[in-house]
């Protein structure tokens, strides 16, 4: 790679930062439309840059030592910060930039009061995600991790007139900051052991001696930081609250891009730093267990929600669990499958959140029961929910298809059919929940739930006057574009081939270290494997998931099981128990975080 493309990794961070800083400086003098356009242009430029980078790196890596401090400058050895972008990192930045752009277009006509500060924060948020994706240095990753947090807490809480919104943003902030502090302790421990911060160098030093309790604890604490961001059980409580109450475009970015960064960090740190240091089987079992529990708990909680955004938030948790299953295999295919799954998730959950935002702005509520039948004739929004709902089940050709199929394929290759069943169940339950909402709200199908109970008090819409049909159509457009991108992602053979190379490069930890520490030496070629996508098994599993999803929706709509009191007592008790558990206040959420951290530490630092 040469020419201007070499500078792309740093530009992907710096350009949105500069845009954010300038909007913060001059935004209050700019008319709203200029701020909108400027922010959209910067986000689009980032998306373009990330796409260019993904093409330009090919089967290699773009390594950039910042500040002119290459490993040989000054003669003392590496002193600067390295940015390392492979195709996987570029793809995640691309997804983040596209979601931010979609969010900005979506909010073109609302969030008037907050104007340019909102734009500045969105761009800074994007920059932080780019920085985190390309950081080849532990402490630098921590800095971008914290910047992601700072921007996201402010964005999540900016509807200050809505009590739930500020409350959830505070929980989000406290829990994530605590997770960040634990991760920093992990970084400090690794620094104490190796005296290095560069990922490749830390890995190299760790491999020089057998792992002990210190290395295990450091990995456990880094995992806590990443899994808090990723919303894995038991660090997931903040997600349901924040994504249910944050402004819609922010929800789309949180759910589609930021959560994925946590999963990505687990995979990256394992590959570059801890692979070959900590016992492979132990970590595999740990991550697979976490993934399965997260996927199932998220899916079960999702089905039992009637607040649409909260429902989507729980489905995010469930899908993170599925991605963790892929990463947890700790092999090339599993990781690649997880990344493909995250990209597909961005193209599916993003539109669903935007669609729910349209409902909120048209009707002033996202309560499924209160919305019964109110969406009749709104074909644009209806189709987003329908396609999104089917997409969550991995309907062949839609966004999640490739990722879900690949996760299932790698799990069954690894001889874990039970976990394939977990993936199918998670897909069916989350998809069933969304399809049930779709049928109730837009078609008025099933028993009218309003006959059975009072409608809920309405929520503050994000726009003061309810938006009309034309504006709603404008707001739905980015959702449609995202769904379209998902179809391309799931079906374009060229992307599947590119994914194969990306997986091989990602899995090549040695090649990573070589590229970072000896940038002059020519990179060794990687052998890419491209697992087949359209196989009979995968199609059968997809069909099964879709059918089960439709069945879940149908049972909820018409089934005799729906009526209160008819559920078997044991199921009711479990569901009530789970609800009780998820009533966790801030102190309990912190307690769960500490318990999870302690458990990970005990398991890994034996």
């Amino acid at each position: 790679m040469s020419g201007p493309a070499e500078q792309l990794p740093v530009l992907l961070v710096v350009v949105p930062l500069a845009g954010g800083a300038l909007l913060a400086a001059f935004g209050h003098w700019l008319p709203r439309v200029v701020a909108d356009a400027a922010a959209a242009v910067v986000a689009a430029a980032c998306a373009g840059g990330a796409g260019w980078l993904a093409v330009a790196v090919g089967g290699g890596r773009a390594v950039q030592w910042l500040g002119g401090w290459t490993p040989t400058t000054g003669g003392a050895g590496p002193a600067g910060i390295a940015l390392v972008a492979d195709r996987t990192a570029a793809a995640l930045v691309l997804a983040a930039a596209v979601l931010v752009l979609a969010g900005l277009v979506f909010s073109w006509r609302f969030l008037e009061e907050v104007s340019a500060t909102y734009h500045a924060l969105m761009l800074v948020f994007l920059a932080a995600m780019s920085g985190f994706a390309v950081a080849g240095d532990l402490f630098d990753a921590f800095v971008w991790f914290e910047l992601m947090g700072a921007a996201a807490y402010a964005l999540a809480g900016m509807r200050v007139e809505e009590p739930r919104s500020v409350h959830a943003a505070l929980e989000f902030g406290v829990v994530n900051t605590l997770g960040g502090s634990l991760a920093l302790v992990g970084i400090a421990l690794l620094y104490a052991r190796t005296g290095e911060l560069n990922l490749a160098l830390v890995g190299e030093r760790l491999r020089e001696q057998p792992a002990d309790a210190l290395v295990g604890l450091a990995f456990a604490l880094l995992l806590v930081g990443a899994l808090v961001k990723a919303a894995a059980v038991p660090f997931h409580f903040w997600t349901a609250d924040a994504e249910a109450t944050a402004p819609t475009p922010v929800c789309a970015v949180l759910s589609g891009a930021m959560v994925g960064m946590g999963v990505y960090a687990v995979a990256r740190w394992w590959r570059v730093v801890f692979d070959g240091v900590l016992p492979h089987d132990l970590v595999e079992h740990l991550l697979l267990t976490l993934g399965a529990v997260t996927a199932l708990l998220g899916a079960v909680m999702c089905v039992w929600q009637r607040h649409v955004k909260r429902l989507l938030a729980y489905s995010t948790i469930s899908h993170v669990g599925v991605a963790l299953l892929g990463v947890g295999l700790l092999d090339e295919h599993g990781t690649a499958a997880a990344i493909a799954y995250l990209l597909g998730h961005a193209c599916t959950k993003g539109p669903l959140f935007l669609g729910s935002g349209v409902l909120l702005n048209q009707d002033g509520t996202v309560d499924e029961h209160a919305l019964f039948g109110r969406g009749r004739g709104r074909w644009f929004t209806f189709s987003v929910f329908l396609v999104g709902g089917l997409g969550l089940a991995g309907l062949p050709g839609l966004g999640l298809w490739w990722g879900k199929e690949a996760v299932e394929h790698s799990l069954s290759t690894a001889g874990l059919p039970w976990l394939v069943a977990v993936v199918v169940a998670a897909g069916a339950l989350t998809s069933g929940a969304v399809l049930r909402v779709t049928a109730r709200v837009f078609l008025g199908l099933g028993v009218d739930p309003r006959q059975r109970r009072e409608p809920r008090p309405e929520e503050e819409p994000e726009e003061r006057a309810p938006v009309g049909y034309r504006i709603a159509a404008l707001m739905v457009t980015p959702a449609w574009v995202l769904l379209g991108l998902g179809v391309v992602l799931a079906t374009a053979p060229v992307l599947h081939r590119a994914g194969g190379t990306a997986a091989a490069v990602f899995a090549d930890g040695k090649g990573y270290a070589e590229a970072v520490l000896h940038p002059e030496s020519p990179p060794a070629a990687v052998v890419a494997h491209e697992p087949p996508v359209w196989t009979m098994t995968s199609l059968a599993l997809a069909a099964l998931t879709v059918v089960l999803g439709l069945a879940v929706a149908a049972v909820a709509l018409w089934g005799p099981l729906l009526r209160a009191g008819r559920w078997p007592g044991r199921v009711r008790a479990v569901v009530r128990g789970l609800h009780e558990l998820h009533r966790a206040d801030l102190t309990e959420q912190v307690g769960w975080l500490l318990l999870g951290a302690g458990a990970l530490a005990v398991v890994l630092a034996r």
Binding site: V166, L178, V185, Y191, H579, D585
Partner: protein, 124 residues
Amino acid sequence: MTLDWLPYAVAGWVFLAGCYGLVTSRHLVHTVVCLSIVQSSTYLLLLAIGWTRGGTAPVYADIGRHRKVADPVVQAMTLTDIVVGAAVTALLLALTVQVAKRRGSVDPRELRSLEEESREERAG
């Protein structure tokens, strides 16, 4: 008797004290301050790791090139961490002000949970 484990022990103690405060908190301002205490423990740990016995500050304005010094990298990390901590604390306190205004309570245990608010009263 050497006390070279003491800095680590202090960092660990401060960390646990902060966590204790977080799980027993009855006031959101107290929660945010306890979070700052947890963050302070990371500064202590970093500085303990970076300290060199017999070393001085890594500022060569008035010392010779070959004096033994503490590790400047951890000091830089600590500085960054302090600014991050202060910035995030400001944000969290701003959110606390809004929670107090909108919810009328600052006791995390009294605040009505969000799961509760959006819960189905299915079982009746």
